[in-house]
Symmetry: C2
Subunit: 243 residues, 2 copies
C-alpha cells in the first residue's frame, strides 16, 4: 500500500506493523502512543545511529558477554518490531529471553511468546512470582529469569520497572530514544537509538568482540556521557533545522 | 484510576481519553501514534504556552475575526481532545466547523459529528465533493465549508492537506507541536502549542480583541519567526536538561 519511494517509507511501514499488532492484541493502545514519542525523538536524533550510540551498543555487547546470567526482557512493542532480530541477539549473546509486560494479561503473554517463538527465539516459561518491587501484576517475573539475572537488557522499558531492576542490584541496559526519560537516566547504560538499528549493532558487536576488547569497553564512559552526547546531537540538529 | 497527584496526571488522563476514543472508533490507531509524537514535542517545549505561541494565538484570533469565511477543520484527535473547547471558539470567532478526516469513513464522520454536537458545536453537514487537490477520499470537503473558506484553522493536520489548502490560496492556521513538520512549515501561521492550551487562548483573544489590535496583530512577524522561536525554546530547554 505504501509506495517504496515515499520519503517516510520505513517510518510508515513500521507504524502499520504496530497498528496491525495492536489489532491482534500484541501491542496496547498505550504502546502506540509510546511509539509515537519514540518516533519524535528519532526524528530529532536524525534517524541514524550516532557515534556515541554505537559505542553504547558495543559496551552493551561487552556487558552481555561478561554477564553471569544475562536476560533480555521483552514487551509488546519490542516483540512487534524486533522479534526476528532478537533471535540473532540471543544466539550471539547467550542471553535468555523473558516476556515481561506493563499491561500484563495471560492472553497477551501467550500471544507475544508465540510471536517470538515463531521468529526462532527461545522464550523462558514457567510460573511467574511477585518478585519485583512493583505493585500488582507488574511485580511478576520468573525466578530463573529476570529475578536471578545479573544483567538485564530492557528495550523500550518504563521508568518504574527500570528503577526496580536497578534497585535490586542488577546491571540494566536500556534502549530508549528519549535521553531525558526516567528509564534513560536510571539505567546502568542507555542506548539512545532506535530498536531495530540498535539490536543488530549489539548482535554484530557480540559476534566480533576481539580479545581484551570487552574489558576496555566495560571501562568506557558512564551513562551520563551517553545521555549528554545524545542531547548534544539533538541540539546540533535543531540548530540548522530551518536553514 | 490515575491518582491526581501523579506527576504526569494530565498527560496520562489525556492518553486514556484518546485510547477510549480509539476503542470507540473516533480516533484511529495512527492517531494514537501521532499523539505520542506531539507528547514528545510538548515535553521538549516545556508543556506550557511560550510567549511566542501566545502571540501566534492572538494573531490567529485576529485572522479568524477579520476573515470573510473562517472554517475550523476538525479531525478525530481534535474532536476527542477538544470538543467542548471548540464550542467556545466557535462562539467567539463566528467560524463554521467542518469534520475532515485523513482516514475518512462514513461511520467515523458520523461519530465525530455526534461527539462535537453533544459538546454544543454546530457542525456543517451536506454532500461532500472531491474539491481539494488530494487523492481519493482525501479530496472530499463541503463546497459551502472548507472549499469556500478564505481562512482555515487546522489543528493537528497532516502536511499534504495543509499544502493543498495553501495551494488553493487560503490562509491556513495550523496548531502543531512539531515546529519542523511539513504542516508547520507550510501553514500561513503555525501555533506551536498543545491543542487544549491553544484553543482557549485563541478564544480568549477573540473575546478580548481591542479596537485596532487586530490590524496590529495581522502585521505581526511571519511564520518563520514563530518556528524559530519554538526551536530556540526547545534548544534552551535541552541545554540544562541534565543538570
Amino acid at each position: 500500500m505504501i509506495p517504496k519511494d515515499h520519503p517516510r517509507y520505513r517510518s510508515l511501514v513500521t507504524r502499520e506493523r504496530l497498528a496491525a499488532c495492536a489489532r491482534e492484541g500484541v501491542v496496547t493502545l498505550e504502546g502506540l502512543t509510546a511509539h509515537g514519542r519514540g518516533e519524535a525523538f528519532d526524528y530529532l536524533i536524525g534517524e541514524r545511529t550516532t557515534e556515541s550510540a554505537l559505542l553504547a551498543e558495543r559496551t552493551a555487547a561487552a556487558m552481555l558477554l561478561s554477564a553471569r546470567s544475562p536476560v533480555i526482557s521483552v514487551n509488546g512493542n519490542t516483540a512487534a518490531l524486533a522479534a526476528p532480530l532478537l533471535d540473532g541477539l540471543q544466539a550471539a549473546s547467550r542471553a535468555r529471553v523473558e516476556v515481561n509486560l506493563f499491561h500484563r494479561t495471560e492472553e497477551r503473554m501467550e500471544k507475544i511468546t508465540k510471536l517470538l517463538e515463531s521468529a526462532g527465539v527461545g522464550v523462558l516459561t514457567g510460573r511467574a512470582e511477585p518478585l519485583l518491587p512493583l505493585s500488582h501484576a507488574r511485580a511478576l517475573c520468573l525466578r530463573e529469569g529476570i529475578f536471578s539475572a545479573d544483567t538485564v537488557l530492557v528495550p523500550l522499558e518504563d521508568g518504574d520497572r527500570c528503577e526496580a531492576l536497578v534497585s535490586m542490584g542488577k546491571r540494566v541496559i536500556a534502549i530508549d530514544l528519549n535521553p531525558l526519560s526516567r528509564t534513560a537516566r536510571t539505567a546502568t547504560l542507555t542506548i539512545v537509538d532506535e530498536l531495530t538499528r540498535a539490536i543488530p549493532n549489539i548482535t554484530g558487536a557480540c559476534e566480533k568482540m576481539g580479545p581484551g576488547e570487552g574489558e576496555r569497553l566495560l571501562s568506557s564512559p558512564d551513562n551520563s556521557y551517553f545521555l549528554r552526547a545524545a542531547l548534544d546531537e539533538i541540539r546540533g540538529n535543531l540548530e540548522h533545522a530551518l536553514d
